[in-house]
């Protein structure tokens, strides 16, 4: 059983949750976007950034979560240098606490069927400072603290333990990230804008919490590691203890705390520096009415409007930028089915190989459209198209020219003759064994720089052999 706590920074906000410091801290020198409030200096008081509530409500509505009529902030206490006050202003759903919203669900498409993952709560809280380790988590002798991030608005979303595999966990986070991007509340491509804690328990074992996971892919990796680790312990006759472990990104392992932890008591109690917030029904309804198109609706539209398969549509909308890119190519004249094929089968893989992001692709859209368009009109071969796209994505620079295909059969025939003359033995072999023909085809391709159609070459070769064999 896996349950997730996903923290999303509300990157659409200009200022932090409780002060007017800039929330756009990523390019700033350490400890420069700070003030008495987010540094927790003696005497300072928080003041709520009202826009943050609005953004969290949008998330809640997108997850079919039920907004509270009145919500309160609670203090969560623990001593750690990433918290300037040694408590975090957060929310609580027990002991009289009411979070911004509770309940809800998110549907995951798993192959042929849809799995509904239940949401427990959606809440608002402040981000903590960033602890910078000069080397890895385990080997650092000292740490540095950057409070620029402290006080940035975070939405914490907690699921029920409904996920049954590390892969499902990854898919869930990807889908949630796409929702956030579609809502425009979080730019999930920003480093550290989406952070996950995962709770996992395998049959009969205690719950283990994995903290500090920074991407959907790492969630899957960390959980896979953890499943293996727990299985090994059980197989050796050991018992899984309740524990909090940290994901060490660098070494790709989960790490136990250095000292035995006591069970943490956060001593939650109401934050009386912030009054309870009433959430008016009218306000909620106006937000609901203004919600943008979300991934599920968009996928349905892709099926309807572009004739895509539900699977294609679900893959495309799993990342907002991918869906946007797809629609942009269609708007530029590409056939929707072709574009979907090429994006899903080639472009995504090329991006992964080149270790690039979808954002890097947008400046190249005209070239992508040109290459796929030429293929559509059968002016270039699939092979050329693939090669061109790969080159485009790796270099990141527009193509100078797309090589035009060699279509003139007499030109191809003369090249085939050339190749036969240069490779008499291979030609003899090909006469007896059609499979041996591939070598000759390859040689022709080489000479034409892959601009000829393999099928045409084979036809010409077969014709040649037939002519030579004729008595």
């Amino acid at each position: 059983m896996i349950g997730l706590e996903v923290h999303a920074q509300l990157t659409s906000l200009k200022s932090k949750l409780f002060c007017s410091c800039s929330a756009d801290y990523r390019r700033l020198p350490p400890n420069t976007s700070v003030c008495p409030v987010c540094l927790g200096l003696p005497g300072s008081l928080p003041r709520l950034n009202g826009r943050a509530l609005e953004e969290v409500l949008k998330i809640a509505l997108a997850l079919h979560s039920d907004p509270a009529h009145e919500t309160v902030f609670y203090r969560k206490h623990y001593f750690y240098p990433d918290m300037a006050k040694n408590f975090q202003i957060s929310q609580y759903d027990r002991g009289g606490g009411v979070t911004v919203a509770k309940g809800g669900w998110l549907d995951l498409t798993l192959g042929q069927f849809v799995k509904r993952v239940k949401i427990r709560r959606v809440q608002l809280e402040e981000d903590v400072a960033k602890i910078v380790y000069p080397s890895s988590l385990l080997s650092s002798e000292y740490v540095m603290v950057d409070y620029n991030r402290a006080g940035v608005a975070l939405c914490e979303m907690v699921t029920e333990p409904d996920l049954s595999s590390p892969r499902e966990a990854r898919l869930f986070i990807e889908k949630y990230a796409s929702i956030l991007d579609h809502l425009g509340v979080t730019d999930t491509s920003l480093e550290g804008s989406l952070r996950v804690d995962a709770n996992i328990s395998i049959d009969g074992g205690e719950r283990v919490e994995l903290k500090n996971i920074n991407s959907p892919k790492d969630v899957e990796k960390a959980l896979n590691y953890e499943v293996q680790r727990q299985i090994m312990i059980v197989e050796r006759g050991g018992k899984i203890e309740m524990q909090t472990r940290h994901w060490d990104e660098l070494n790709r392992v989960t790490v136990a705390p250095r000292f035995k932890e006591e069970e943490e008591d956060y001593r939650y109690f109401p934050e009386s520096d912030l009054p309870p917030i009433r959430i008016e029904q009218d306000f909620v309804e106006s937000l609901r009415a203004a919600l943008p198109e979300l991934p599920d609706e968009r996928a349905e539209r892709f099926v309807r409007q572009y004739g895509l398969t539900p699977y294609q549509a679900s893959v495309l909308v799993s990342q907002k930028r991918l869906a946007d890119f797809f629609e942009d190519t269609v708007r530029r004249g590409l056939n929707a089915a072709d574009s979907a094929d090429w994006l899903m089968n080639e472009v995504l893989g090329d991006l992964a190989d080149a270790k690039k992001e979808l954002t890097d692709l947008f400046p190249l859209i005209d070239d992508v459209v040109r290459v796929v368009g030429l293929y559509e009109k059968q002016q270039i071969t699939g092979k050329i198209a693939k090669r061109q796209l790969k080159q485009l994505i790796i270099s990141g620079r527009p193509l100078e020219e797309v090589p035009t295909p060699v279509r003139d059969e007499s030109v191809i025939t003369s090249i085939v003759s050339e190749v036969i003359a240069e490779n008499p033995r291979a030609y003899e072999k090909a006469k007896r064994d059609p499979k041996a023909m591939n070598y000759l085809v390859g040689q022709v391709m080489k000479k034409t720089r892959a601009r000829a159609d393999a099928k045409v070459i084979i036809d010409i070769l077969k014709k040649k052999i037939a002519e030579d064999e004729r008595p």
Partner: protein, 483 residues
């Protein structure tokens, strides 16, 4: 000299702010070795500011309603560029980089911040003996405490070191020292004065208040610092409808809180309270006794709530960002925290943090914290109900006059009992003024309290002005003199 007349004369150019400041600095240097009211005096800065005020007047610019008036600020309120210690070792070396909202308001009104006054560490105490930098002494009797926790501000005003001062009142921390030192001490409605810049001890309860030697000075000071503004999100001004202006004491219904003149109150204090009731009758008010039996819940509820909040508010002092430095040789964070906090906090602060942490722990939260919350709302409801029938409530400020140094510090419970009559006001969030009213046979001042409904702060001060005009208030400035 009264703040009111200093400002009036400085504004008219009849008096030089530098001359005024020179005199007060002289008084401070004579009194300080005896009473230790200040933790920090900015002599140079104060004289420089006085010169600027004089320049403004010369140029025909009005420096404001408190032009040239020296003021002392309790050392748990942030003043930019001055140390902010809360009388705790854990904040040693910390200088505030910003002004509390009230301090900005004072500066804008032309007042001059002379320095920071002593207090019980983090405002926890009723005698100023819990200061990490040594106690303050009562100017009326150097063997006695000035009350607390704003004992430095009370003693500074009572001795005449400054005409007015700021304090903070969590459970009587302004009114207690005012009553023990024979000056006015005002605790406004919760939320009516911005808390931004007041170092939090018990944030849902405490307020910034003031000290003065006349009701008119209190009115002036309060008119400058009031109007909770943007940085205080717990602004309550919209919760209650605005009061009408004070029509005078004639015909007012006044309730004398029976519980406060019963067992535990010194006979001379009780006598003064009845004399106060008599003075009000002379002014035309109708005084009756009134009983709120649940007031007995106030003290335990108060200590639970304030300790719980303190355990949270004081969590930030860990030596990592400011104050006493964090040891570098600790083997982990917890050891570093324990070391800093173990050495940096005094015994009373530790006691309250431990009590508060316990009350908030899972398993005890319902039994302690939530019960205390329920008791607070019961007391609040009952007091507000009584205030529907009475425009004012009265009682003694403290059950006793100022005890001797060392008399109560060994027994925390006896120290807590000094707050018996002041804490209900804080739990209810209502305004209350401690008025100097007579002296005991041993010559120590006695204070009585005038309380009213939320936002009737002006009524409380105006009523005192009326009594003062009748000659029924014994003004402290007449008696406390340098020996």
């Amino acid at each position: 000299m009264e703040a009111f007349s200093i400002a009036d004369k400085v504004r008219r150019g009849e008096l030089s702010a530098q001359e005024v400041m020179g005199k007060y600095i002289d008084l401070i240097s004579r009194w300080e070795p005896k009473i230790h009211a200040f933790l920090y005096v900015d002599e140079k800065g104060a004289l420089e500011r006085a010169r600027q005020i004089d320049d403004l007047v010369k140029k025909g610019i009005d420096p404001g309603r408190l032009a040239g008036v020296p003021i002392a600020v309790k050392d748990n309120i942030a003043v930019k560029g001055m140390p902010l210690t809360c009388a705790s070792k854990i904040l040693s070396g910390y200088v505030s980089p910003y002004d509390a909202t009230v301090v900005s308001k004072l500066r804008q009104a032309g007042s001059i911040i002379v320095g920071k006054t002593n207090l019980d560490e983090f405002a926890m105490g009723s005698s100023t003996e819990y200061s990490a930098f040594g106690p303050t002494r009562n100017p009326w009797d150097l063997e006695r405490v000035p009350g607390g926790s704003s004992g430095g501000s009370g003693a500074a005003v009572a001795s005449g070191e400054v005409p007015i001062a700021l304090g903070s009142d969590t459970g009587g921390s302004v009114r207690c020292p005012a009553s023990f030192t024979g000056v006015y001490g005002f605790k406004p409605t919760y939320g009516l004065v911005s808390r931004y810049g007041l170092v939090a001890f018990s944030n849902s309860i405490e307020v910034i208040g003031g000290f003065s030697t006349t009701a008119k000075d209190m009115e002036l000071l309060f008119s400058v610092i009031r109007n909770s503004d943007a940085p205080d999100p717990m602004d309550q001004t919209s919760v209650f409808s605005g009061p009408t202006s004070f029509p005078g004491l004639r015909g007012m219904r006044v309730g004398l809180l029976k519980e406060t003149v019963g067992e535990g109150a010194e006979p001379e204090v009780v006598k003064a309270t009845y004399a106060f009731a008599e003075a009000l009758r002379e002014a035309g008010a109708l005084v009756d006794e009134v009983s709120i039996p649940d007031l007995s819940l106030a003290l335990p509820a108060y200590y639970l709530l304030t300790s719980a909040e303190a355990s949270s508010n004081l969590a930030r002092y860990d030596g990592i960002r400011y104050g006493m430095p964090c040891p570098l040789d600790a083997k982990d964070w917890n050891e570093a925290y324990s070391k800093v906090r173990g050495e940096g906090f005094g015994p009373e602060v530790k006691r309250r943090i431990m009590m508060g942490s316990f009350a908030l722990s899972s398993g005890y939260y319902d039994a302690y914290y939530l019960k205390a919350v329920a008791a607070r709302s019961k007391i609040r409801q009952e007091m507000l109900k009584v205030l529907n029938d009475f425009q004012f409530l009265i009682g003694p400020t403290n059950p006793t006059t100022a005890p001797k140094l060392g008399e109560r510090i060994t027994d925390p419970l006896s120290m807590y009992l000094l707050d018996l009559d002041t804490v209900p006001v804080n739990l209810a969030g209502i305004p209350a003024l401690s008025i100097p009213f007579g002296k005991s046979s041993s010559g120590m001042p006695i204070g009585v309290q005038l309380m009213s409904s939320p936002l009737r702060d002006d009524w409380v001060i105006k009523a005192a002005e009326e009594l003062e005009a009748m000659g029924r208030v014994e003004m402290a400035s007449k008696v406390a003199t340098v020996e």
